[in-house]
């Protein structure tokens, strides 16, 4: 991470000419590493091996050692064979996106790639397939080996800093098997995006439910008599509001209108936050509150232009976090 940026950029410019930077979008969700898109060059160890062979050759030449020639040329032949084997290690491999895990800003987001052979063909054993993100200095490469005709998942962890959608940059798939003499690589531009939630504010103040009584406190108070608080189900009512028993008995979908638990619904309101707080700080605090609410408390979220009615559970929490991650964009729903 501490490497100066300028030499790295220079090197990258040398290593990837424009024709290599053309995007390779997947066809039917799959990027195939066919031979038109598989590149191979000797690695540093390979160059060292070449120097060694040269030294062995010169010694053999000078003293005319036939056995020396034999050993040198045999190793040279094996080196040539390695080139082919290294190439075959990645040849006709397919890479497809296999899902992402959302993360909080500052934590790494996980991108899963499915690695397999072309359907219907024999795939060799593939050793040490390494996926890396050359454009992301902080991302650790992930590696994987596959048995014959097997497929597997590779998970790349990409560091995050900002909330919102995080697209997977170009992935470089490479391998150095066998002997590390050659590096074979190819690229895949997979349309994978991960959602990055705002960073939860550390040491956030306690949840503000006491400070925000409902507008009409009477109606929301829980009542002993549950019947007259039923109403017809309206689309959008959370699952846990559905009165299952009554619905089954009456044959109509019914929802409860009142609070089922002992605690009142708690509105997390953008406007109610101290005016001095900046946008991201507000989102951070709201995020921390959403997390702090846990599974027992019903919360609702009010952002400028966005309102999520009170609810609880994993799906509800996810909806809240997503709204926080994408605010002020509302196009987040189903846009991936």
């Amino acid at each position: 991470m501490a490497t100066p940026a300028a030499p790295a950029r220079k090197r990258r410019a040398w290593a990837s000419p424009p024709w290599l930077q053309r995007r390779r979008p997947p066809r039917q969700g799959v990027v195939t590493l066919d031979r038109r898109h598989l590149y191979i060059l000797p690695s540093r160890a390979g160059l060292g091996f070449a120097v060694l062979l040269l030294a062995m050759l010169l010694t053999s030449l000078n003293y005319n050692i036939s056995l020396g020639f034999a050993l040198t040329f045999l190793l040279g032949g094996i080196g040539m064979a390695c080139m082919w084997h290294a190439y075959r290690n990645l040849l006709d491999m397919t890479v497809a996106g296999a899902g992402t895990e959302p993360a909080f800003a500052g934590e790494p987001a996980a991108f899963s790639l499915r690695i397999a052979g072309i359907a219907g063909t024999d795939a060799p054993v593939r050793i040490g397939i390494e996926a890396s993100l050359p454009s992301q200095a902080g991302a650790l490469p992930a590696s994987l080996s596959l048995a014959r005709d097997a497929s597997g998942l590779l998970t790349l962890h990409l560091p995050t800093s900002r909330r919102g959608w995080l697209a997977l940059p170009r992935v470089t798939l490479s391998s150095r098997f066998p002997f590390g003499l050659f590096r074979v690589w190819s690229h895949a531009d997979l349309p994978l995006v991960a959602l990055v939630y705002p960073q939860p504010e550390p040491d956030a103040p306690p949840l503000p439910f006491a400070a925000h009584p409902d507008d009409d406190g009477v109606a929301s108070l829980p009542s002993d008599d549950g019947i007259d608080q039923l109403r017809r189900y309206r689309s959008g009512d959370p699952l846990h509001r559905i009165a299952w028993k009554h619905s089954a008995r009456t044959g109509r979908w019914l929802s409860r209108t009142g609070q089922a638990g002992s605690q009142p619904a708690c509105w997390l309101d953008w406007q109610a936050l101290p005016p001095a707080l900046a946008t991201e700080a507000r989102l951070s605090r709201l995020c921390a509150w959403v997390l702090a609410s846990g599974d027992t408390m019903e919360i609702g979220l009010r952002l400028p232009g966005v309102e999520i009615p009170p609810g609880r559970g994993g799906a509800h929490r996810h909806a809240c976090l997503e709204a926080l991650a994408l605010w002020p964009d509302r196009s987040g729903q189903g846009a991936r």
Partner: protein
């Protein structure tokens, strides 16, 4: 963030240590003792650290040891007179690889150590290249490769076995290796030379001859040279491997004439076709049977002996490689450097042409030290009695042939007047005694004469088809100069013990003396075994070890490639490179045979005017084609059904090979019906 380099596991350290030990062990054959001890100490230290799982020593410590190693090496260089020999260079490299091992922590270090191990393996061949070493180093190289494979990819252990993979790599690599081995140009002369330090003693015959000294050489069965020649094996009596001409006698020791040796010119090379020179038939009149017929071409593989002279059949005419070898007027052949590795050369021999004797040579060939009055008197008597010098020589041979002269390897010590003492008192001796006294007598009788040293005879190995000449076959004989015939070979030993010349040294010795040799020269079935082994060794040397520029160019001539070696090499490499691509092409073609067949089906129908639309499914297309081509409707439907079943049916790929054949047949039927 760069991924942190992988640190080595305990077992990997152990493997590295083990492979380095195995690579270094055979070096002990040739390394100076000091360095060997140092290496053993360093390796033991590393081993102890490994056993106790102790941390590696600090950089400072290693720097100190490296300094110590350099000091020891410098001391050895100084001791050998500023001479950094081959063995010392190898030893230094070995020491530094061990030091590198002592600071190896991560994968990159281990890779470097492994690669250097390959170089150390090669350096084993610098001293000699016996057959066992080839097998040993092959095994070690395979093991090194296996370790290297898992060192770089430890995760591969669970997925594949190393040996089949290495076998495949070797199989693919072998054509490259063979092509390069045969065609890669060899050098005529070295680019640089690290002299062998004088730890290796010179062996074989020396350049002086003192008949009085004890004969140790004769007992050794060590191989001096091997020779193979075309045609029938020669009789042993024709096998005089001539090396040196000794002119100067001081009463005890015969020595060469340095000025004559130095006055040499580049030896003539062998022409492509040997032309036999005129041959004086009766050359060996007095020396038993002559070497038969015309000139002889042969190959000699000379074991390293640290001398500069070459052995050729009497008399050598030409030698190949001619470069570097010189020949003088006396027919002695020399190399420019001491022979410190096995040398193979091709030579041609033919009887010497009659030569005129110039005055300085005549004086040299008649010069005698004072002393030995009884011998002089005898020679003077012959000189008066016989006008013909040849008859004087015959008189001497008759003298030796008569009792009580006999052949022995353990002669009695000679007195102060050595020739007199031998001729008139002890009368028992071996070739040196006879050659020395004969030449003395001849010179005293006014016949120009000189002593020749070399080997005589040799064991013919019918399995290898070659002669094995041992140190025990060392021999000395004489040459006298006769008017009109030049220098003529005379072997006085043959007069005493003809069997020595005809059947080798065993036959010439008395029973008790043979016992001494029998320990190493066993007869019977063991001899067959020994011949078999030696034949193998010789074949190995001849075709693998001695494959040099000369052999290469001969092979190229034979193959008709001639001088265009680089072109042939490049063409071969290009061919192999293209061959590597074959699997890629085949792979593509065989990607999906079902689809390939369907493509042919569509092409066939398109040729008959029925082109499949871009969005048309196989069944729709087949139905349309069947309507359009009613003659082939059934075949079209049949093929289409089979195709649909194969392509969209639920079947394991391995099961449908029979179905695939059916599909292929259906296509063939369709083609036939379409053609009608």
């Amino acid at each position: 963030m760069k991924p942190t380099p992988r640190t080595l596991a305990h077992e990997e350290h152990g493997l590295l240590l083990g492979q380095l030990a195995l690579v270094l062990a055979p070096q002990a054959r040739s390394l100076p003792v000091t360095i060997s001890v140092l290496l053993v100490l360093l390796m033991s230290w590393r081993w102890l650290l490994w056993r106790q799982r102790a941390p590696l020593p600090s950089r400072l410590m290693l720097a100190l040891i490296a300094g110590l190693v350099i000091l020891v090496a410098a001391a050895l260089v100084w001791q050998s007179g500023g001479n950094m020999g081959r063995d010392l260079s190898v030893a230094l490299l070995g020491a530094f690889v061990v030091l590198k091992l002592l600071e190896s922590r991560v994968l990159a270090d281990a890779t470097l150590v492994t690669q250097l191990c390959f170089y150390l393996l090669l350096s084993l061949y610098l001293f000699d290249q016996p057959f066992w070493l080839a097998l040993y180093s092959l095994a070690i190289a395979a093991w090194l490769l296996r370790n290297w494979l898992f060192l770089g990819h430890p995760e591969a252990r669970g997925y594949l076995a190393a040996w089949p993979l290495l076998g495949r790599l070797v199989l693919i690599g072998l054509p490259w290796a063979l092509l390069l081995f045969v065609l890669f140009p060899r050098l005529d002369r070295p680019l640089w030379r690290l002299p062998q330090t004088e730890t290796v003693a010179a062996t074989g015959i020396s350049d002086t001859m003192s008949p009085g000294s004890v004969s140790q050489l004769t007992q050794s069965t060590e191989v001096a040279l091997r020779a193979d020649m075309e045609g029938e094996p020669l009789p042993a009596s024709a096998l005089y491997w001539r090396a040196l001409v000794l002119w100067q006698f001081d009463g005890k020791t015969w020595r060469p004439a340095p000025l004559r040796q130095r006055h040499a010119q580049p030896a003539p090379g062998l022409p492509a076709t040997d032309e036999a020179p005129p041959y004086a038939r009766d050359l060996g009149e007095m020396a038993g049977k002559a070497s038969a017929g015309n000139s002889i071409s042969y190959n000699i593989t000379l074991e390293p002996n640290q001398h500069q002279w070459l052995f050729l059949l009497d008399r050598g005419q030409a030698i190949d490689p001619g470069a570097g070898a010189v020949v003088n007027a006396d027919g002695e052949f020399f190399t420019s450097d001491p022979i410190d590795q096995r040398l193979r050369y091709r030579a041609r021999s033919a009887p010497a042409k009659p030569q005129a004797l110039d005055l300085p040579t005549r004086q040299l060939a008649l010069a005698l030290p004072p002393g030995n009055p009884r011998s002089r008197a005898l020679a003077t008597e012959w000189a008066e009695q016989y006008a013909d010098p040849a008859q004087r020589a015959r008189a001497a041979l008759r003298l030796f042939a008569a009792a009580p002269f006999s052949y022995t390897l353990s002669p009695a010590p000679l007195g102060r007047e050595q020739v007199d003492s031998f001729l008139f008192d002890t009368r028992r001796g071996f070739c040196e005694h006879y050659a020395s006294s004969f030449v003395f007598l001849m010179r005293a009788a006014g016949v120009p004469a000189r002593v020749i040293t070399g080997y005589q005879g040799g064991e013919y190995n019918p399995i290898g088809g070659n002669y094995i000449v041992r140190q025990a076959d060392a021999h000395a004989w004489a040459e006298i100069w006769l008017e009109g015939r030049g220098w003529v070979r005379v072997d006085p030993t043959s007069a005493v013990a003809p069997s020595r010349v005809e059947h080798g040294i065993d036959a010439a010795l008395e029973a008790s003396e043979i016992e001494a040799l029998r320990a190493v020269r066993d007869p019977g079935w063991l001899r067959d075994l020994r011949w078999g082994m030696d034949g193998m060794v010789y074949t190995w040397q001849r075709w693998v070890l001695q494959y040099d520029r000369g052999q290469q160019s001969r092979l190229m001539q034979h193959l008709g490639i001639g001088d265009s070696l680089p072109q042939a090499l490049l063409a071969g490499l290009a061919t192999l490179s293209l061959l590597v691509l074959v699997p890629l092409v085949l792979r593509r073609r065989q990607a999906d045979p079902v689809q390939a067949l369907y493509a042919r089906f569509c092409r066939d129908l398109a040729r008959h005017g029925c082109v499949r639309g871009p969005a048309e499914g196989p069944q729709d297309f087949a139905a349309r084609a069947a309507r359009r081509l009613p003659a082939a409707a059934q075949a079209v439907q049949d093929f289409s059904e089979r195709y649909t079943r194969l392509r969209y049916g639920r079947q394991a790929p391995a099961l449908h090979s029979g179905e695939l054949a059916g599909l292929r047949q259906a296509l063939r039927r369709l083609s036939r019906q379409l053609a009608r």
